[in-house]
Symmetry: C2
Subunit: 329 residues, 2 copies
């Protein structure tokens, strides 16, 4: 029996090595090695998550781990890429415990299996502040087939997968708002789960590659992410607010408090795919998504011009000048 | 004129987009895209750096940026890999300034050019604690040629590039130790620079791939890194302490205070390459390294067995049970 504090190598061997993919060399080397598949491009994305910004101190370690991986895999999915693996950079707070790390590693391992995105390597340090983590995810697409954010064209139909606003409402529920009483227990549980456990749309990468012209994932709010995609494509958009797909729970919340529509459209953490599609491809795209158990909803049109997209509502036109949750301001 | 705080997108466009490689798509997409070279494997490494652990609050932003990239490129070089590019994850403290970020980005851009490792993508968030950053670097080797840490064999000669201990002494100099008076101004400047500005041995990747059996970079101290490499290779080692290459400045410091040898061997931040070589390859290896303007010094032998490597000294055998600087304990 030893009372020695575990070293970083001990922690790697105990908690992370069991999660490593073949390319991770059981984490016994100081780098990972990956043989790219011929005829494919690599897609690379990185996301930093910090306590207070992307998760709360009371969130379960396994949920934090899953979310860190899921938000990156969501970026890959929106590019039409299949996940290949990820690298983890973990800055633990002074007061870390082995129990916390064990739960974190277990959640990470489960998420890696579910999302088919194994651990390739990592680095663990102790930080002065709160927990901070960063995940770099690698994916692959057939050569030249990455779906860009910059390619939306006037005339394209704007679509989103799944439903919008659930995660933002799930987070808002923690403050016990008055509208919570309009929801059933199931509604509340569903919304809370959508915040804690994003489900990247990895099942839809093939139809996305086949049919979409431009795509990105909705992480910072539909209104702001759409504005970004339009701006980098040199176009703008008109969206029918009533067409934006809401879950039954979100619909009930919005009926109880119509002001929640702003939160729904700007709250973020949706991890759905926002994309534009040439009109003649829309039906084939919807069918292919439905065949894979997904949902795709047209919500508007790309138009010539610049400036913030317009959301058409029964009460008139709306523009969301600050359309995103920003971790920055 | 606007007094609006810059958004993350503003910062990316202003400071980071000019640094981006072709695969980084001018950072206008939310993922990077890289076409792997046929017949090559990818080598991947990630390092987290936190204030207080890897750099000090008073360090110049450009030096912090350079170091963050250099420590990762050093990992690649020790695997025999040519750099392809990197992704940056940056958690800025509450009190960040645009001036700080401008200096950081400038240093990063210069380092990316010097180290031939361009920016592919990144994520910037605001954190509650001190500055934290994480770099994921990608490199390539001809298929199957990554130099592993796990392949050292009994009989191999242990070698290091360059000189050992300079960076640790450079950091120690900041506390104005008594031995500092034994050094010239040039000595002190050289040691300080070795801490601030690591020089990854990217020029030596080809001879390393051609001749070395096992390799890693010396980041956590020669004694501890050697112990790790021996342990994962299932062997141990005997080192001739007097053969460990010291710079003139480090030699003077050690003459003034012989106790500094411990710091030299365990202080870390060397970013030299530690490797093992079959004896019959040693001379060709040394010649190839010298042809590229480098230095390679044999310091000991790999032997059968397990346990902490032995350092032979005129005063008897030494073992460094805690042979590394650890960011963890």
């Amino acid at each position: 029996m030893t009372t020695r504090r575990p070293t970083e190598d001990d922690l790697i061997a105990r908690f992370f090595a069991p999660l490593a993919a073949e390319g991770g060399l059981r984490l016994r080397d100081d780098a990972a090695c990956l043989t790219p598949r011929p005829g494919h491009d690599l897609v690379l994305t990185v996301d930093a998550l910090v306590e207070g910004g992307h998760f709360l101190p009371e969130d379960a370690p396994g949920s934090v781990a899953r979310k860190a991986l899921a938000v990156n895999v969501s970026d890959l999915a929106a590019k039409g890429a299949e996940p290949l693996g990820f690298l983890l950079s973990l800055a633990l707070p002074e007061a870390w415990t082995e129990e916390w790390l064990a739960d974190f590693a277990q959640g990470l391992g489960e998420a890696a299996r579910d999302l088919r995105c194994p651990l390739l390597g990592g680095d663990t340090v102790r930080a002065g502040g709160g927990l901070a983590l960063s995940v770099t995810a690698l994916g692959e697409v057939p050569s030249g087939r990455m779906v860009r954010r910059t390619e939306a064209r006037a005339g394209d139909v704007i679509c989103v997968t799944g439903t919008i606003g659930d995660a933002a409402l799930g987070l808002a529920l923690r403050r016990s708002p008055t509208w919570a009483s309009a929801l059933s227990d199931e509604d509340r549980a569903m919304l809370a789960d959508r915040y804690l456990h994003p489900q990247p749309r990895i099942g839809l990468v093939e139809p996305l590659r086949d049919h979409a012209r431009a795509a990105m994932d909705v992480s910072d709010g539909l209104a702001g992410d759409l504005a970004k995609m339009m701006a980098v494509s040199g176009v703008t958009a008109v969206v029918d607010m009533e067409a934006v797909p809401l879950s039954t729970a979100a619909g009930r919340a919005a009926a109880a408090d119509p002001a929640l529509l702003d939160l729904i459209l700007t709250g973020g953490d949706d991890y759905e795919i926002l994309c534009t599609v040439p009109p003649e491809r829309l039906e084939s795209f919807r069918t292919a998504v439905a065949d894979r158990g997904g949902a795709l909803t047209p919500i508007g049109r790309v138009i010539e011009g610049s400036g913030t997209p317009v959301f058409k509502t029964p009460q008139g036109d709306r523009r969301f000048e600050r359309g995103s949750y920003s971790h920055f301001e």
